[in-house]
Symmetry: C2
Subunit: 220 residues, 2 copies
Amino acid sequence: MSQAEPARRPAGRPRGALLSRERILEAAFALSDERGGDFTLAALARTLGVRPQALHHYFATREELIAGMRGRLTLRIGEHGFDRRPWHEAILAWARAYRDTLGRHPGLIAALATLPVAGEPESMADYERIAAAFRRDGYPDHLVVPALVAVESFVIGSALDAATPPDNLRPTDPPRAPHLAAVEAAAREHAEREGRSVTETTFEFGLTALVAGLRRAEEG
Amino acid sequence: MSQAEPARRPAGRPRGALLSRERILEAAFALSDERGGDFTLAALARTLGVRPQALHHYFATREELIAGMRGRLTLRIGEHGFDRRPWHEAILAWARAYRDTLGRHPGLIAALATLPVAGEPESMADYERIAAAFRRDGYPDHLVVPALVAVESFVIGSALDAATPPDNLRPTDPPRAPHLAAVEAAAREHAEREGRSVTETTFEFGLTALVAGLRRAEEG
């Protein structure tokens, strides 16, 4: 919408030449941040001031576009040294960056999480690096995908959880939920003493516990 | 859409009397399963053949409606014996039922996961039962919410993951991702030998590892 380009164009003359993969992806992030991840290619074309056909040169389907957005986010998440650090250390840094990156686009999380990734080159390169680290460190082959998907599922759920109010589990009627009221207050006080948000301490606690559990599973 | 009631009604005479909380919730589940969780109250009113104002008697806002849907799902998930089984056993059964229930409504997961729950009575009763079990078993108060949110985040991410193709991490170009290709094949073969889907074995492995990690965190 904030593009300088006028929305009107001569009929039958798509402005494909003014488009680029980069510009379309940027507009798609802006649109999904504004209106959620359910947008159509037609809606995206409108915000770019082009005809839907002009987009098809770059992204034949909505799925291809979402895959492109996913690739962009994967690059933003970064590598985190899987090639030189033990998997269980690198994966902590990767999970934190992954959650932060998704957290900046909450409306996209469901679309990204349910997208088939097999054809998306950046995601494949990322998973390949991670799989290589697990194998190098002797993790059983048949458990690498389950371990990786477990961390990824936890990260995706945590990114959604981060979009809820920080006192989400604080009962509105404490006398009816005395145990919940007590543990919720204890978690908030603990986070305050540590100078962090409950969302942060909760994520770190869960991530550490999950990775510790995955390491233990490796041992047998 | 399949309601017998005609969409036309005398102007100015809302059909509130024919509505019920139950009927509205059913229509909301049907609508979100068909078109995703981003629907408006106005769209829901249309499928019920009533004016938006007629819904407001039952649900003043979209948030209240989603909270009602969440309450309904919580009842479907069930109690799983937190009052008599150790938390780390009951939570496995609860997590499986939670994921299965969410998995039946993939379009709703993001809306449900980001909803403030503090005012929703069924969810609060559920969390209260779980919090009571953790405390009874001696889990440190300040870690109960982090442990519970960790399992819930993992379940929500896993329910989204279950909506992806089962061979989602199988590289389309195996020579470019040899490690990923090897571990993905190993996971599939392992699941086949166990007579289960990769999605199932992956979820069970991650859940067991997470709960084991959370138990260990309790010990120190």
